[in-house]
Amino acid sequence: MYEILAKEELGTVNKLMVIDAPLVARKAQAGQFVILRVVEEGERIPLTIADFDREKGTITIVFQEVGKSTMHLGLLQVGDELASFTGPLGRPTEIENYGTVVCVGGGVGIAPIYPIARALKEAGNEVISIIGARTKDLLFWEDKVRAVSDELIVCTDDGSYARKALVTEPLKELCEARKDIACVWGIGPAIMMKFTSLTTKPFGVKTIVSLNSIMVDGTGMCGACRVEVGGKTRFVCVDGPEFDGHEVDWDLLMARQRIYLTEEKRAFDEFKLKCECDSGL
């Protein structure tokens, strides 16, 4: 069950995997996520559905190795099986023909923005996409995103590839130049989503973000994922993950993401040490 059917390196820190999960693929829609465990002792980590194939019964995930669980996941090979894989969770993106929309993907957020851009395009929208990363090595899927967009803007923070800019710069220019933008989707690290929302706010352009709070079950039973949106407590896993970016309490989200910093670092360091020992270093 939950066999890894394909694995691909996307640049230096991001990895892609295609997982055999027919039940999840049957229902998967853009904007939803899965919760997986790498091994029996593993934690339950949420990852966005980057792509799905209903016929083949597969789900594609793209992840950045930031800690123990994602590093462990990255060590698995084609043919290995995951301990568990649950989904699709969360509410799907509300896809409609809005007119002109902008999809902004930052870093590993390029993966989840892809199925959303594709669905919006299929629904008849004019889709303008902006993808960006810190540096060239972290960029991926330029061609894939281009194929589902009417226009694509690529940038890197350090200028190592394409335009040297943060994704918020071309976004601001678009908002200034075009008064017909109906909606913006922004997915990436919390800080990037915060500034994406701040960029569009003065223009009154509705902005949807996909929040990445810490989760346990992903089904609404623990409250670990709670955030404040519009002054109300919401559970990201069941009420989201997409919310109106102008209403999100970003400082709270970012504070809550740091709850286990000490423990995460300890787990990561011990794991790295173990991996080095195992590989005979």
């Binding site: 039940l23 002792e41 894989f85 649950t86 699709p88 969770l89 670990a224 709850i259 286990y260």
Partner: protein, 482 residues
Amino acid sequence: MAEAKKPKREKIPRQEMPRQAPEVRRRNFNEVALGYTPELMALEAKRCLQCKKPKCIEGCPVRVDIPAFILKLQEGDLAGAAVALYADNNLPAICGRVCPQETQCEAVCVLGKKGEPVAIGRLERYVADWRISQGTEVPEMAPPSGKRVAVVGSGPAGLTCAADLARYGHQVTIFEALHAPGGVLIYGIPEFRLPKAIVHTEVEYVKSLGVELILNCVIGKTLTIDDLFDDGYEAVFLGTGAGLPMFMNIPGENYNGVYSANEFLTRVNLMKGYLFPEWDTPVRIGRRVAVVGGGNVAMDAARCSMRLGADEVIIVYRRSRVEMPARAEEVENAEEEGVVFNLLTNPVEIYGDDNGWVRGMKCIRMELGEPDASGRRRPIPIEGSEFDMDVDTVIMALGTRPNPMVFTDAGGLERTRWGTVVADETTGRTTRERVWAGGDIVTGAATVISAMGAGKRAAADIDRYLRGEITTWMPAEEAQKA
């Protein structure tokens, strides 16, 4: 004849069950209660008067024939005791440990009128543990009916319903959202009160009856109830429990260091947070922990906090000791382990520091007024009695409601305003044809044994339905009237 024996019996006092010493157990996760020795069991069994009209049976929600199994114990026939006990109870190793006996079977035992009741729960546990040690055998099964039933949720309600349906000859599949079966038994109740090995044994037993278990499958997301019918299941039982946590909606509740009891206990028990970093899931416990609530959930959270190394653990409960819904034994255990009780107290605000971490809690003193709808005296805040409590972790154990997820695209399932599903008490039938429900999803947070009872009754009704004995579906409310 009866008179001749009576005086001899009354001399035996209720036998205590050996337990780990408080100063030892408060820092480990091993089971607290160690079980009777054969000698203690024999002494305790002897106390039962074998009443002609046994009151104790009426106190048990599944009507275990208590004198029957105790008689076998008096005769020294353990195998016979096991047969008698398992006839009425699929999960006695669990019930013997977690039933609130003092409000159920033992509350009405005649011996309790003058002295102390027979320790029915402890005897039940003894028999069940003995039988598990012997390796369980597959009971008699009806011939296959060729009918398929879907059971949603693998808590006590779902497991019991599935086991009975399998014994009636039906092909049963359990769908469970989490990666491990058992419901609250596995994610909520801690190892030191209910060893997970026992839950695993019971789950394996259910599987040995031919029940298929599909984990990581969230009904309402991965599949809907409609999908289950489309896939060929002829009946659906909902035993998804009441797992939605409640918060107080007071300021500061989202600071780092405020947990719902569900999150805290899931991290500790299901994810084995107490074994971090061997197990990956961390759980962060501060030095001074406040647990808000007075039920079993609160006691479990408090005792887990103690075991994770907190310096001080305080139960904050808005009523008084007598109103606390937790099992009496666990309140005692918690107290012995050093948990402090701050009763007639209610939080009004949680303070945070500059980094968003809890640094204290403002509380108000309460007094008890007139009894409310639940029959318990209503707590009323005493004006001007606010005070600050120095804590760095707060665990909210305020009760739970049914998780609405299972109702996505569930068509025609009526619910109450508390979010519980409307179902007939005796049959479990809901307002949607071919859908039954039982356990916490119907009653709201209740007990293991009542969930099992509901699963059992629903299984019997589903069996009647599948055998064609029920031709017209009488919705829950009408059935109730009839």
